[in-house]
């Protein structure tokens, strides 16, 4: 054995030297020792605050009308039922009007963040990165995506003064039996994830 003892060896050697050497003296901390702990704790607290402050400092914030805020969409530009959806690049959403109701879809693929394209010939969304496919209402068809396309919380106002808000599950909103829509308000800060490929 080497005469000089490295750190690793000391640790490994402990059991070999018997229990007596492993015993640790336990006694109440002295005043000075306690003060050291308090000091250490204050430093840890300060570092914690600095860390939280850094996150607060570096986290971006969103203004109204930019992505993350509320968007309005002109009601007269809603696409026809089962017609090609309309893309709003600023808000990163698609306005889609499948037969089962009106819906706002988040334009980003829930798989890895690419932008699915609307394929007119196949009448579905196709993601160019990994081939996930979605129906007009955002429902998953195939591919590696974990769930259907996300939706944005949407509130519709009708000319009779009533409003209709998207339900918590993000289902398409039936507008066929309502009056004319006067206002469409889309909250791009409130993204609704589908629980799976539904």
């Amino acid at each position: 054995m080497a005469t000089s003892i490295t750190a690793g060896e000391t640790k490994a050697a402990v059991p070999a030297r018997g229990k007596a050497a492993a015993e640790v003296q336990v006694s109440a901390p002295s005043r000075r020792e306690f003060l050291y702990y308090i000091w250490g704790a204050s430093i840890a607290l300060l570092l914690g605050e600095a860390g939280a402050g850094f996150v607060w400092f570096a986290l971006p914030r969103f203004k109204e009308g930019t992505f993350g805020g509320i968007f309005t969409y002109p009601p007269d530009k809603i696409p026809g039922v089962e017609k090609d959806p309309v893309s709003v690049p600023d808000g990163r959403f698609w306005v889609s009007n499948p037969s089962d109701g009106f819906i706002i879809l988040y334009a980003v693929c829930p798989h890895l963040g690419c932008l699915p394209k609307w394929s007119e010939s196949n009448h579905r969304f196709e993601c160019p990165c990994h081939g996930s496919k979605y129906q007009l209402d955002g429902k998953y068809i195939e591919g590696p995506a974990p769930r259907s396309m996300d939706r944005f919380a949407t509130t519709l106002t009708f000319d009779d003064g009533t409003t209709l808000a998207m339900n918590a599950a993000g289902d398409p909103m039936d507008i066929s039996k309502r009056g004319n829509i006067t206002k469409i308000s889309i909250d791009t800060g409130k993204r609704i994830q589908r629980p799976g490929r539904v």
Binding site: D76, K77, P79, G80, K83, P89
Partner: protein
């Protein structure tokens, strides 16, 4: 372990190998340095080429609905594929001689005999100019002026053509609806538009690629569909209005326009007794006779409902809509032309079709257009 013996074991070999390697690097970098000028130039031309390709794609989707796919202009916007934009002078020779002679004419040393000679030559040049302009006549009829051959000079632009196009695309250009149906939009993101700066630059590169330098032909000029329009001085307008008044007072006849706010019932009354000419209607529709109409700029490019099958769709689809119960197809078409915002076909955008056809069309024009559209009865979706 041969490799080991060769590379590792003897210091002399290590030094030798390392020296060779360093000299090798030296030589390769030297070789690079010799070719670097050529490589940089090649890269430059290659990436200008790529910029033109990207610009072509952007032009096709964003610009061609108004400026035309071939850049020859339409009733909505002027031509860019035009010698006027690039300042080509069709009468360069004549202009040069004229200016030289006129300068000489003004000099005090010029004798009277010489002056007579010069005047004769000028008269001869004038004849030549008239003959040359004869060739350009169709373009002149569309508003081209052979003496004002440089767009940049006409608008008093002091910078380069690149900057002229770049700043126009970037910020757009406000217009009065009296000469263009809609303004040039602000395209660049730095001016609140949709395109990135590099995309605007690509479009400029593409437009500049239309320049034929000194190889512009008369045919190129005649192919231009629409020349730039210049805003009209209000004084000129007032003068024209005065002339119209005088004409009315002296009993002359003015064309009877339909009017933008005329109700559809009144329009139908006005159409009674007017026989539509489908052939002239087609010329109107395609912008080949006066008044020059921009119909085909949208209805053949997908911006508006397709021209083909218009009548079929009117009869089979529109009139079936309860909104139009009791309407005739002629009524529907007349209303759509004069009051385009009354009803917008689903899937298309309101506000693109100009609302001012009522003040451009006479009842005869309207009847001709309707007659032409009634021939568009091909089967359609």
């Amino acid at each position: 372990m041969t490799l080991q013996r060769l590379l590792i074991n003897r210091i002399e070999q290590r030094i030798l190998i390392s020296t060779i390697a360093f000299l090798g690097i030296l030589v390769v970098i030297g070789w690079l340095a010799i070719n670097e000028g050529g490589r940089m130039a090649a890269f430059d031309s290659e990436f200008t080429a790529r910029a033109i390709e990207d610009g072509a794609t952007l032009f096709n989707t964003n610009c061609s609905p108004c400026h035309g796919v071939d850049g020859l202009g339409s009733a909505r916007a002027p031509a860019l594929n035009s010698p006027l934009l690039f300042g080509f002078d069709y009468l360069a020779d004549i202009h040069k001689q004229q200016s030289a002679l006129k300068t000489e004419l003004g000099l005090p040393a010029t004798t009277d005999a010489r002056k007579t000679e010069i005047n004769a030559q000028l008269a001869d040049l004038q004849t030549q100019e008239t003959q040359a302009e004869q060739q350009l006549q169709p373009a002149i009829a569309k508003g081209y002026d052979p003496d004002q051959f440089n767009r940049l000079a006409n608008v008093g632009w002091g910078s380069t053509l690149y900057n002229y196009i770049y700043s126009t695309v970037t910020s757009g250009r406000p217009v009065s609806s009296s000469y263009w149906p809609q303004p040039m939009p602000n395209w660049s993101q730095i001016a609140g538009g949709p395109l990135r700066v590099d995309q605007v630059q690509d479009i400029v590169q593409f437009v500049l690629n239309w320049d034929k330098g000194s190889n512009w032909t008369v045919d190129d000029l005649l192919a231009v569909q629409q020349f730039p329009k210049v805003p009209v001085d209000p004084a000129t307008v007032a003068q024209l209005q005065q002339q119209i008044q005088q004409l009315q007072q002296s009993g002359g006849q003015l064309p009877q326009y339909v009017g933008e706010t005329t109700s559809i019932d009144d329009i139908m009354k006005g159409l009674q007794g007017v026989t539509g000419d489908a052939q002239r209607g087609q010329l109107l529709y395609t912008g080949q006779t006066t008044p020059v109409l921009p119909c085909s700029g949208c209805h053949t490019t997908g911006t508006g409902p397709a021209m083909q099958g218009t009548w079929t769709r009117v009869v089979n689809e529109r009139l079936k809509d309860p909104k139009f119960a009791g309407w005739t197809g002629e009524e529907y078409i007349a209303d759509s032309i004069i009051h385009p915002s009354d009803y917008v076909v689903p899937g298309f955008t309101d506000g693109i079709m100009p609302p001012n056809f009522g003040s451009q069309l006479t009842y005869q024009d309207l009847a001709d257009l309707i007659a032409y559209l009634k021939t568009q009865d091909q089967p359609s979706s």
